[in-house]
């Protein structure tokens, strides 16, 4: 059974506005590392943000872990969100908080308000945070403030925060687009390794086709809100890529 199943997803940001996603369907299986490629403005971010309902779709259906995401109440939505890690292009860290507190905030979905207020996380949570920080190579930066780190290091904090959630699916919105090429490859390689180790399927927006071809085993090609390709990376070729990016060339 697929972890995530999207069918006929349509999105408008306002009733009179243009249709941004025009009926997208696809499935994500437990061992997929999916890339969503396509020119800028194609709707990649919109698509990924629908999955955990940061954007509310106009119509369609999203089945995630057996839950019908679009029909969930606030409390159940939070339950689904806490099992779904998200990594952002601009890291979305709280700059004035320490690396440790940022990572621990990944557990908020499991913590009551009072504990959250006083930052009282359990021993296990802290132990997990330390081991996750080791894994992403930040053991020397635990107590630093998030804004003292370099871009690559900040994205590692973002990855660690997502891992704290013990996620069943990772949503990545251009995780390397704010980084320079060398760091991009390192971060991408780290994400691929971690996805294997933690056995998490990944859905990853990515603008850079070369990175996508190298690291992902499946691909969705989006153009102007329409799915142009859906299949294993091995089935992707020059001609199909040209189709997907046709608008951008013009």
């Amino acid at each position: 059974m697929p972890i995530l199943s999207v069918s006929d997803l349509k999105v408008r940001y306002s009733t009179s506005g243009p249709e941004i996603l025009k009926g997208i369907s696809f499935d994500v299986e437990p061992d997929d590392f999916f890339a969503i490629i396509g020119p800028s403005g194609a709707g990649k971010s919109t698509l990924i943000r629908c999955i955990n309902r940061l954007v509310k779709p106009t119509s369609g259906k999203i089945m995630l872990y057996g839950d019908d995401v679009l029909r969930l109440g606030a409390r159940e939505l939070r339950r689904v969100r806490r099992s779904t890690g998200m990594i952002f292009q601009e890291f979305n860290l709280v700059n004035r908080m320490s690396v440790m507190d940022n990572v621990l905030s990944g557990r908020l979905g499991h913590v009551g308000n009072l504990r959250a207020l006083f930052r009282q996380f359990s021993r296990q949570d802290i132990a997990r945070a330390l081991s996750v920080l080791d894994r992403v190579g930040l053991s020397d930066h635990v107590d630093k403030r998030a804004d003292e780190l370099s871009g690559g290091q900040r994205q590692r904090v973002g990855i660690a925060r997502a891992l704290m959630q013990d996620p069943k699916l990772l949503l990545l919105d251009e995780p390397t687009s704010s980084l320079d090429p060398k760091i991009s490859r390192e971060v991408m390689a780290l994400i691929v390794e971690i996805a294997k180790e933690y056995r998490v399927p990944v859905l990853c927006n990515i603008h850079d086709v070369k990175l996508a071809m190298e690291f992902c085993n499946k691909m969705i090609g989006l153009q102007d809100g329409v799915k142009m390709f859906d299949g294993p990376t091995s089935a992707m070729n020059e001609g199909k890529l040209n189709d997907i990016y046709a608008m951008e060339v013009l």
């Binding site: 940061l54 806490r82 979305n92 709280v94 908020l108």
Partner: protein, 273 residues
């Protein structure tokens, strides 16, 4: 040369423009002067009881009385000075607590139902700031009787406006990305506030609160005038018993207190920023 007549024209036009400017300016000065003369006439010349205004020597003698500072009063001023600080501090704390709904309603990006809640917040802020602290104190003296409590309440209410306005604006300007991240990990609205909003606005808020506390020392030192305790009350008593030297002593004490507030405020703000 063709450029010469052209230049002449431009020069004439420029000078004409200047003359026009000059006439307008002269008119404006004239109007201002008339306004000043009229105000002086109605408020000072007509309104002062010139019979009671003594000779130059009387005025000098009166000033002399004030300069003969009553140092003996100083030891008795500790208690009221302390009370003034307490009123300012408690008032600020209470003000900060009562601010919370005004901040929550008054920041457009978190206001629960902007069409209704936003105007409510704005009204609270305007009401708090547009009514003078003495007037608030008179109101609370009438409500809870003479004493420091009325002063505390007046200071608290008077503080809401500025703290709430600055904090709400800071919240409106915050970076929405961490907010989104905390939502995405499954955090509820309270957790979003504690983790993504508060850390961003806390430095601004602490600065604003300290600043307000400093101003509140100033405010609470005069609230005694209407029976709300502190140094102001002593001041009023000295004035009523015609102890001019005592009045000056109280003014000195108030000055010292304000200086103290400014120093504390300066160092605390330096420490947090």
């Amino acid at each position: 040369m063709t450029a010469v007549p052209h230049m002449d024209q431009r020069l004439d036009a420029f000078l004409a423009g200047r003359r026009r400017g000059k006439t307008t300016r002269t008119l404006i000065y004239l109007v201002i002067a008339l306004l000043v003369i009229w105000s002086v006439k109605t408020t000072i010349v007509d309104d002062t009881d010139w019979e009671r205004l003594g000779s130059v020597s009387d005025v000098l003698a009166s000033i002399g009385n004030f300069l003969a500072i009553d140092w003996g009063l100083m030891p008795d001023l500790w208690q009221p000075a302390l009370e003034t600080i307490m009123v300012a501090t408690l008032g600020t704390v209470l003000g900060v607590i009562s601010c919370i709904p005004a901040i929550w309603f008054g920041a457009l990006n978190i206001s629960p139902f902007p069409p209704i809640t936003y105007p409510i917040a704005r009204l609270m802020m305007t009401l708090s700031r547009s009514i003078h602290e003495i007037v608030w104190a008179l109101f609370f003296v009438a409500a809870v009787g003479l004493g420091a409590l009325a002063g505390v309440l007046a200071i608290a209410v008077r503080s809401i406006g500025f703290i709430a306005k600055m904090s709400a604006e800071a919240i409106e300007d915050l970076d929405p990305r961490p907010v989104e991240a905390i939502r995405a990990v499954g955090g509820n609205e309270f957790q979003v506030f504690i983790y993504a909003i508060l850390p961003q606005v806390l430095p601004v808020m602490v600065g604003v609160i300290i600043f307000e506390w400093e101003i509140n020392i100033r405010r609470s030192s005069v609230l005694g005038l209407v029976g709300a305790g502190g140094l102001g009350l002593v001041f009023f008593r000295q004035l009523n018993t015609f102890n001019e030297g005592g009045v000056t002593a109280v003014i000195l004490a108030i000055l010292l207190l304000i200086l103290f507030g400014e120093l504390v405020s300066y160092f605390v703000r330096k420490a947090i920023i």
